[in-house]
C-alpha cells in the first residue's frame, strides 16, 4: 500500500462518514420533499423543542467526530513506518490524560443541562386544552374523545380510528394505553414517541402549529403486522374542527330503500356488525345493533365504522380510501385549504375502491393477521385482526355501496 490511498481514505472518512450525521440534519431541515415522517421537520411546538435540542447536539457530535478522526488520520499519515528508530517506550502522560478525560466530561455536562430542561418541559400537562384517548391494538389505533370542556366542548363521546383529528394550534394531551401488546404512538413532526402499554396509561403532548396532515407509525414491534400499523393526525382550524365534531355526532341515516346500499346494510348486519359498530344502526326488527368484538377478536375491539368515509385511510391507516391524485391534493394542501379538502371525506369520484374491495375479499391475504382458523387454540378461538369472511362479489358490491355512505 502506498501513502496516497490511505490518506485519501482518512480524509474521506472525515468528509463522508463523520459529517454524515450533521449533513443529514442540516439538509433535511430545509428540504420540503422529504419523507412525511422526517424527524428533522417539526410542525408543532413539542417536536420543535426536541429539534432545538437535537440539532446542536448533532452539530457538536459532528465537530467532535471531525476533530477525533482528523487526529487519527494525521497520526496514520505522520507516524507510518518510514524506517524511523523505535520510539520511546512511554507509558503515558497522566496530566494530558486527565485533561482529555475532563474535556469530554465538560462537553457532556453542557449537553446534559438542556436535556433535562427539555425533558421536563415535554412532560408538562398543566397547559392541556384538549384530551384525546388513544388505544393501540393489533394492528390499528382507536381514538376517542371523552366528554369534556376542552377541544371546544364535547358533549357526547366521539370514537374514530386510524386518523386522529385535532384542533390546530391547541395543546392536546393524549392519554394512551393498549388492549393487547405494547405499541408506540409516534407522529414524528409533532412529538417523539411514547409506548402504549397494556394496563398502564401514558400521556403524550401533541400540538400542530397549522392545519395539515401528519404521518405516524407504530414504532414498537407489535407482532406480525407491525409494519401495517400506521396512523395520521389531521389538524383542523377551530371552525373546521367544530364542523368535524358535528359531523361525527350526526344521527344515523339508513340508505334509501331499494338501493344497493340498502342491501349492503343487511349484508353489513349479517357479516360485519358482530365486530364493527355503526352507531344508530337498527336491524329489521328495529333493534339497535350493538357489536360485541370482545366475543370475536382477541384484542376485544374492532374499528368503529360509523363515519368511515370521513377518514382517508383504513386498516390501520395502511391503505387509502381516496385515489392517489386526491391523496396528493390533501397531503400537499395549503394550511387554509386543508380543512375543506379533509372535511369533504371520501366522495364517489375520488373513492379508491380497489384496496377496500381487495380487503373485503380476503383481508388476511392483504394484511397478515394470524387469522388462520386452524391456529386459534392459544386465543380461545378468538381471531386476531379481521378474518377471511368468504363474501361473494355481490355482497362486496353491496358493502362498498353501503360503506361509501358512512360519513
Amino acid at each position: 500500500m502506498t501513502a496516497t490511498p490511505r490518506r485519501r481514505w482518512s480524509r474521506a472518512a472525515l468528509a463522508r462518514r463523520t459529517g454524515l450525521v450533521a449533513a443529514v440534519g442540516l439538509l433535511a431541515a430545509g428540504c420540503a420533499q422529504n419523507a412525511p415522517q422526517d424527524t428533522w421537520d417539526p410542525a408543532g411546538e413539542n417536536a420543535q423543542k426536541i429539534h432545538d435540542l437535537q440539532w446542536p447536539v448533532f452539530t457538536v457530535a459532528g465537530i467532535v467526530g471531525v476533530i477525533v478522526l482528523s487526529v487519527v488520520g494525521f497520526a496514520i499519515w505522520k507516524f507510518r513506518d518510514r524506517g524511523q528508530p523505535i520510539p520511546e517506550q512511554t507509558h503515558g502522560k497522566p496530566k494530558l490524560e486527565i485533561a482529555l478525560t475532563i474535556l469530554p466530561a465538560l462537553i457532556l455536562i453542557g449537553v446534559a443541562i438542556p436535556t433535562v430542561g427539555t425533558l421536563m418541559a415535554l412532560n408538562e400537562t398543566d397547559d392541556t386544552e384538549c384530551i384525546v384517548n388513544v388505544t393501540g391494538q393489533q394492528w390499528w389505533w382507536e381514538f376517542d374523545y371523552p366528554v369534556q370542556d376542552g377541544c371546544g366542548g364535547i358533549d357526547e363521546p366521539i370514537i374514530t380510528s386510524g386518523q386522529m383529528v385535532i384542533p390546530a394550534d391547541t395543546n392536546v394531551l393524549i392519554r394512551g394505553t393498549s388492549r393487547d401488546v405494547i405499541h408506540s404512538f409516534w407522529i414524528p413532526r409533532l412529538n417523539g414517541k411514547r409506548d402504549m402499554v397494556p394496563g398502564r396509561v401514558h400521556t403524550l403532548r401533541m400540538q400542530a402549529n397549522e392545519p395539515g396532515i401528519y404521518a405516524g407509525q407504530c414504532a414498537e414491534f407489535c407482532g406480525l403486522s407491525h409494519a401495517n400499523m400506521r396512523m395520521e393526525v389531521a389538524a383542523l382550524n377551530d371552525a373546521d374542527f367544530e364542523a368535524w365534531k358535528a359531523n361525527q355526532l350526526e344521527d344515523y341515516e339508513s340508505p334509501a330503500e331499494g338501493t344497493l346500499a340498502a342491501e349492503g346494510e343487511q349484508t353489513f348486519i349479517t357479516n360485519c356488525a358482530r365486530c364493527h359498530q355503526v352507531d344508530g344502526l337498527r336491524d329489521s326488527d328495529g333493534q339497535l345493533v350493538v357489536s360485541r368484538p370482545d366475543n370475536q377478536v382477541f384484542s376485544g375491539a374492532a374499528p368503529n365504522l360509523t363515519n368511515l368515509m370521513t377518514r382517508n385511510t383504513f386498516a390501520g391507516a395502511t391503505w387509502d380510501l381516496i385515489t392517489q391524485e386526491r391523496r396528493d391534493q390533501v397531503w400537499e394542501a395549503d394550511p387554509d385549504e386543508f380543512g375543506d379538502l379533509y372535511l369533504a371525506g371520501v366522495e364517489d369520484e375520488w373513492f379508491n375502491e380497489v384496496d377496500l374491495r381487495e380487503w373485503l375479499r380476503n383481508s388476511p391475504a392483504k394484511k397478515p393477521m394470524y387469522a388462520d382458523p386452524t391456529r386459534l387454540e392459544e386465543t380461545d378461538g378468538l381471531v386476531r385482526g379481521m378474518p377471511y369472511l368468504a363474501l361473494s362479489e355481490a355482497q362486496i358490491d353491496q358493502l362498498l355501496a353501503y360503506l361509501l355512505e358512512r360519513k
Partner: protein, 671 residues
C-alpha cells in the same frame, strides 16, 4: 495426567503393567487420553483446543447470522418486498440478532479469552479445565438447539428483546419463542460457567511477577467482561425462567389481565442487555489494545487509564439500562437520571479512543491487516459512539428510538467496535494459534471490502432512520418514502447493496483461510515472532505445546517480551533501543531450562455428556415431560461421573509404550 518427564539418567525400565486399583477399574470408562483423532477434541480439556472449537463454531454462526441479515436486506431493498412473508421476516430479524450476539460475538470473544488468557498470564491451562470443556459443549448444544427451531415450526418471532406480552403464546403461538428462551438459557449456562472459570484463572494463576497492573490489557478487558457476565447472566436467567413458565406452565408473570406489568420484562431484559453491550465490545477493545502497541512499536498509551476506564465501564454499565426505555413511559425523573448516566459512560469510552490514538502518536506504524482492522475499529466505533451520544439525549431519543437510526448506531458499535476487533485479533494471533499467518494480500481485500461494505450498509441507515423509517417492519411503502435526496427508496437500496459488498468481504476472509490451510498449501510456517510482539503469549512455540510454556516464565514488566528482546542503551532522556535477543533465542533458552515435571489436566468424557443432557431437557419442556426426565437422568449420571472421576488420569488409562512399528496415541508422553 499427561505427565511430561524430562530425560533421566537411567534408561526406562522394562514396562510392567501397573496394578489395578479401585480408582482405575473403569474399564471402558478409561480416561480418553488420546492425543490425536476426534476423541482428542471431543474430550479435551486443553484451553487451546477449546478456544479453537469456540472460534470455529462462532464463525459458523457468523455466516448463519449473515445469511439471515442478507435475507432481511434483500426484502427491504425495494418497497413492498416479497422475498419473505411477514412471519418469516419477523423470525429472521429475531434470529439474526440472537445469532450474532449470543452465537457469534460472545463465543468468538470466549474463543480469544480461552486461548489467550492462560498464555498471556503464563499459565498452563485455565483454573477448571473440565468446566471449560463444559462451557464450550453447552454453548454448542445450546446454539444447535436454538437453530433446530427452523425445522420445528419456525424461529422465534418476537425480536431479540422479546418484549412481553408480545412474547406470550396468544401472540406467538409457534414454539419459536420457547426454543429461543430455552436456547438462551442453555448458552447462558455456558457463559456463567466460563465466567467463573476465567475470573479464577486471571486472579489465581498468573505467572510469578505478574501483578494485576502487569497483566496484558486483553486479559484485563476479558476479565472485566467475565465479571459483567457473572452478574448479568443471572438477570436474564431469571427473566427467561419467567418467560418459560409463562409460556409453558401457565404462569402469569406478564399477564396484564392478572395484574402484571409488562415493563417488568423490559427492566429485567435491559439490566442484562446493557451490560451485554459491554460484554460484546470490551474483548475487542482488549484485542486492539494489544494490536495497536505492537504495530506502533510503543506500549499502550496510558495502560492504567485503559484498565480503569474498562473497569469503570464495567461499573457504570449497570446504571444505564433504562436508556433503552426512554419512550416506554418511565416518567421524566427516571428518564433524566438514566439520560445523564448514559452521557457519563461516554467519558470512559472516550478515554479509550484517546488512548488508542495517542498509542499511535509518535509511533512507528506498520499497516498489517490486523492493524488496519484495529484502526478501522477506532474510526467506526468513534462514529457509533458519537451517534450514541445523540440519543443519550432522551428527548431526541424519543424521535430516534426504534428507527433505523438506532440500527445504524449499534451496528457501528457492534460491527465497527466488536467485529472489526475480532477480525484484528484473528489476523494478529492466527500465526500463534495455527503456526501459519493468514495472507496479507487476501487480508487487505478482506478489510477494505468489509469496511466499505459496512459503511454502505449501515451509513445510509442514519438517513433512513432520521427520515422516520421504524425498525422491524417487513415492508416499507412508497407513500412514506419521500422524494428528495433523502428518500427512503434510494438509501434502502444502497444499504442492501452494501450488504453484498460486506458479504464479499467476509468471503475474502474465507478464501484467505482456505488459501492458507488447504491441503498442499505452499505457505510456509510463520516465524515465531512475526509481528515483533510484546506480550507473554508469544514467548513459546507456535502453535504452543500442550503445556504452553516449557518453563513457567517470571515476569518483570508490562510488555515482558519486548523488554526481553530490547534494551534501552540511551542515556538520560535519550532512548535508543537495541535488540539483544530474538524470540527464537528466548524460546530456545526456555526449552533448555524446561521444568522437570509438568502436570496437565486429564481429558474427560463428562463435560460433553453433561452438556448433552441440557438440550434434551429443553426439548422436554417444549414437547413432553418424559424427555425432561431422560435429560435429567443423563445430567445426574454425568455429574456423579464427573465428581467421582480422579483428578488425574491413572497410569492404567494409558496404553503401554508402543512396540517399534506400532503406534498409539494414548502413550504416556515421554521425552
Amino acid at each position: 495426567m499427561a505427565i511430561i518427564e524430562r530425560p533421566t539418567d537411567t534408561a526406562p525400565a522394562v514396562y510392567e503393567p501397573p496394578p489395578v486399583t479401585a480408582t482405575s477399574s473403569y474399564g471402558y470408562l478409561r480416561r480418553p487420553v488420546e492425543t490425536t483423532g476426534w476423541r482428542s477434541w471431543a474430550f479435551t480439556v486443553d484451553h487451546k483446543k477449546i478456544g479453537i472449537m469456540y472460534g470455529v463454531t462462532a464463525m459458523f454462526f457468523f455466516i448463519v447470522g449473515g445469511l439471515e441479515a442478507g435475507l432481511i436486506r434483500w426484502q427491504l431493498a425495494g418497497p413492498d418486498g416479497t422475498i419473505l412473508s411477514a412471519d418469516k421476516y419477523n423470525q429472521m430479524f429475531t434470529m439474526h440478532a440472537t445469532t450474532m450476539v449470543f452465537l457469534f460475538v460472545m463465543p468468538m470473544a470466549a474463543a480469544f479469552a480461552n486461548y489467550m488468557i492462560p498464555l498471556q498470564i503464563g499459565a498452563r491451562d485455565v483454573a477448571f479445565p473440565r468446566l471449560n470443556a463444559l462451557s464450550f459443549w453447552v454453548f454448542l448444544f445450546g446454539g444447535i438447539f436454538l437453530n433446530t427451531s427452523w425445522i420445528l415450526g419456525g424461529g422465534a418471532d418476537g425480536g431479540w428483546f422479546m418484549y412481553a406480552p408480545n412474547s406470550d403464546t396468544p401472540f406467538s403461538p409457534s414454539n419459536g419463542v420457547d426454543f429461543w428462551a430455552l436456547g438462551l438459557q442453555i448458552t447462558g449456562i455456558a457463559s456463567l460457567v466460563g465466567a467463573v472459570n476465567l475470573i479464577v484463572t486471571c486472579l489465581n494463576m498468573r505467572a510469578p511477577g505478574m501483578s494485576l497492573m502487569r497483566m496484558p490489557i486483553f486479559t484485563w478487558m476479558a476479565m472485566v467482561v467475565q465479571f459483567l457476565l457473572l452478574f448479568a447472566m443471572p438477570v436474564i436467567t431469571v427473566a427467561l425462567f419467567l418467560l418459560i413458565f409463562q409460556r409453558n406452565y401457565d404462569a402469569t408473570f406478564f399477564s396484564v389481565a392478572e395484574g402484571a406489568d409488562p415493563l417488568l420484562w423490559q427492566h429485567l431484559f435491559w439490566i442484562f442487555g446493557h451490560p451485554e453491550v459491554y460484554i460484546i465490545v470490551l474483548p475487542s477493545f482488549g484485542i486492539i489494545s494489544e494490536v495497536l502497541p505492537v504495530f506502533s512499536k510503543k506500549p499502550l498509551f496510558g495502560y492504567p487509564f485503559v484498565v480503569f476506564s474498562g473497569a469503570a465501564i464495567g461499573f457504570v454499565g449497570w446504571g444505564v439500562w433504562a436508556h433503552h426505555m426512554f419512550a416506554s413511559g418511565l416518567g421524566p425523573v427516571s428518564v433524566a437520571v438514566f439520560s445523564v448516566a448514559t452521557m457519563a459512560i461516554a467519558v470512559p469510552t472516550g478515554v479509550k479512543i484517546i488512548n488508542w490514538t495517542l498509542t499511535m502518536w509518535g509511533g512507528k506504524l506498520a499497516f498489517t491487516t490486523a492493524m488496519l482492522f484495529a484502526v478501522g475499529l477506532i474510526v467506526q466505533f468513534t462514529l457509533g459512539g458519537l451517534s450514541g451520544v445523540t440519543h443519550s439525549v432522551a428527548p431526541s431519543d424519543t424521535q430516534q428510538t426504534d428507527t433505523y437510526y438506532i440500527v445504524a448506531h449499534f451496528h457501528y458499535v457492534i460491527f465497527g467496535g466488536a467485529v472489526l476487533g475480532l477480525f484484528a485479533g484473528m489476523y494478529y494471533w492466527w500465526p500463534k494459534v495455527f503456526g501459519k499467518a493468514l495472507s496479507e494480500k487476501w487480508g487487505k481485500w478482506n478489510f477494505w471490502w468489509m469496511i466499505v461494505g459496512m459503511n454502505l450498509t449501515f451509513g445510509p441507515m442514519h438517513i433512513i432512520g432520521l427520515q422516520g423509517q421504524p425498525r422491524r417492519m417487513y415492508v416499507w411503502t412508497e407513500a412514506r418514502a419521500g422524494e428528495g435526496f433523502f428518500n427512503l427508496g434510494f438509501w434502502n437500496l444502497v444499504a442492501s447493496i452494501g450488504t453484498v459488498v460486506l458479504a464479499i468481504g467476509v468471503l475474502f476472509w474465507m478464501i484467505n483461510v482456505w488459501v492458507t490451510h488447504r491441503p498442499g498449501s505452499k505457505i510456509p510456517p510463520a516465524p515465531l515472532d512475526p509481528w515483533d510482539a510484546r506480550s507473554l503469549e508469544w514467548m513459546t512455540t507456535s502453535p504452543p505445546k500442550p503445556h504452553n510454556f516449557d518453563r513457567t516464565p517470571t515476569v518483570h514488566a508490562l510488555d515482558e517480551v519486548f523488554h526481553r528482546k530490547y534494551e534501552d542503551v540511551g542515556e538520560g532522556d535519550q532512548h535508543d533501543y537495541v535488540q539483544r535477543a530474538t524470540l527464537e533465542e528466548i524460546v530456545a533458552e526456555e526449552e533448555r531450562n524446561a521444568d522437570a515435571h509438568i502436570h496437565l489436566p486429564a481429558p474427560s468424557y463428562w463435560p460433553i455428556v453433561l452438556a448433552f443432557s441440557l438440550p434434551i431437557i429443553a426439548y422436554g419442556v417444549i414437547y413432553t415431560s418424559w424427555l425432561i426426565a431422560a435429560g435429567a437422568a443423563i445430567a445426574i449420571a454425568a455429574m456423579f461421573g464427573w465428581a467421582l472421576e480422579p483428578a488425574d488420569a491413572e497410569e492404567t488409562d494409558f496404553d503401554p509404550p508402543a512396540e517399534p512399528g506400532e503406534s498409539t496415541s494414548k502413550e504416556l508422553a515421554n521425552v
